[in-house]
């Protein structure tokens, strides 16, 4: 998100992502901080869950 919605201005840059849980067909979405450009997060990048707060599931790159 280059232009974040209201309330997220201080959190930019970040990515909102849809990820697939290993060995399952289950998809979940989450918040991944500090992603400025698509090259920082190519499709297929492994991520892990680090927490859960008012943004929902919070992730980081593995």
């Amino acid at each position: 998100m280059t232009v974040p919605p209201e309330g997220f201005e201080d959190l930019a840059p970040y990515a909102w992502v849809v990820m697939e849980i290993d060995d399952s067909d289950i998809r979940v979405s989450g918040f991944l901080p500090k992603i400025a450009t698509p090259t920082d997060l190519p499709i297929g990048t492994p991520v892990k869950i680090t927490g859960f707060d008012e943004r929902g599931i919070v992730l980081e790159k593995q």
Binding site: M1, T2, V3, P5, W16, S29, P38, E54, G56
Partner: protein, 419 residues
Amino acid sequence: MERESVCVLGGGSTKYGKLDDSISDITLQASVGAIESAGIEPKEIQAGYISNVFGVADKQVHLGPVVMSNLGISECPSLSIESACGSGSVSFREAFANVAAGFYDAVLVTGTEKVTHTGTDWTTTYFSYCSDFFYEGQAGASFPGLFASMARAYLHEFDATEEDLASVAVKNHENGVLNPKAHLRKKISIDDVMDSAVVASPLKLYDCCPFSDGASSVILCNEKFAKEHSKDYVKVIGSGRGGSPAALQGREKLTTIPSTRIAAEAAYKMAGITAKDVDFAEVHDCFTVAEVVDSEDLGFFEKGTGATAARNGETKLNGSIPINPSGGLKSKGHPIGATGVGQVVEVFEQLTGKSGERTVNDAKIGLTQNFGATGASCAVHVLNVEHYILQLFIIVKNVEVKNLKIPLSKEQAKLQLIR
């Protein structure tokens, strides 16, 4: 149960854009436009269907009784309908179903929205409430962010480029320039799109439709009523609705919108046609990638080839399947409660010779597709004209001085040919 044939008898719209009048006023203006276009009196309307999402932004919800009162028919029943950006087509569908079932002979369907005075921040925030907020809006995903996810998946999965997506915006702006009621009447180039500010990669400012104010209205009736009142009517021959998981995470793929495919299949089945029979379509292009995905889900192109088709000009006014001759949401504008009804107004005007320079030649069947949020809900309608357009070119000394388009019934068309 046998269904009544349902017809669009008239249509009217305000200009789309930044409007000064109140939501009550623009709703009335569009409704009066439809009533005058249909050539009927307000008292002949038996019910009203009013679609709107953020009436609260202009301090007026429960718009149904307000517009009925302003039309002088306060005792006429009405229903206010909200289904996010797809509110207009859902409203149209409910009206269609009630006329088809024989409950009413003639009804008013008006969609309306007034948000621009609230500013971009407020509007973006409130629109995000139309997503599955727990998983999306609350996690910082605005609609540009959600559609950017779809665009990134599309570009990853298929042979398509950001320039291909940009070609959708360029084409819709070309059409919008020809539409006097469009919000953004300005030609743009691929470079303009590519050089515009990134909102949520890969979507840039010119990949996104604007926030708009506006209202659109149609009169729906059974065929007996239509024949008694006007020769300019268009039949609704197909109607379908569908749903998708509200959150993108619930979908098997991000490169298709299940609700569109379900609604289209139902509408085609009811109409007894396939996608190949459609002459042109008004589709939900809230973002350029949406039009590409729509064009595939509606069956106009194979999955993964919609972007290439757009780049090759197949969706232009003179292409194999013109898409969004009105300019679409991208250029005509997106007053969210009105958009679905506005699409029907465009198809009605196209099929009755009232579209001026943006007329799709020889069109008989037009389609509308309008969805809510990222396609969590969708409605598709197929409309068909059974009469013909007599086009007269009046030429004086080799110079065309007049180009007239006159709708004729089948019988009138036969007479003209004999003469």
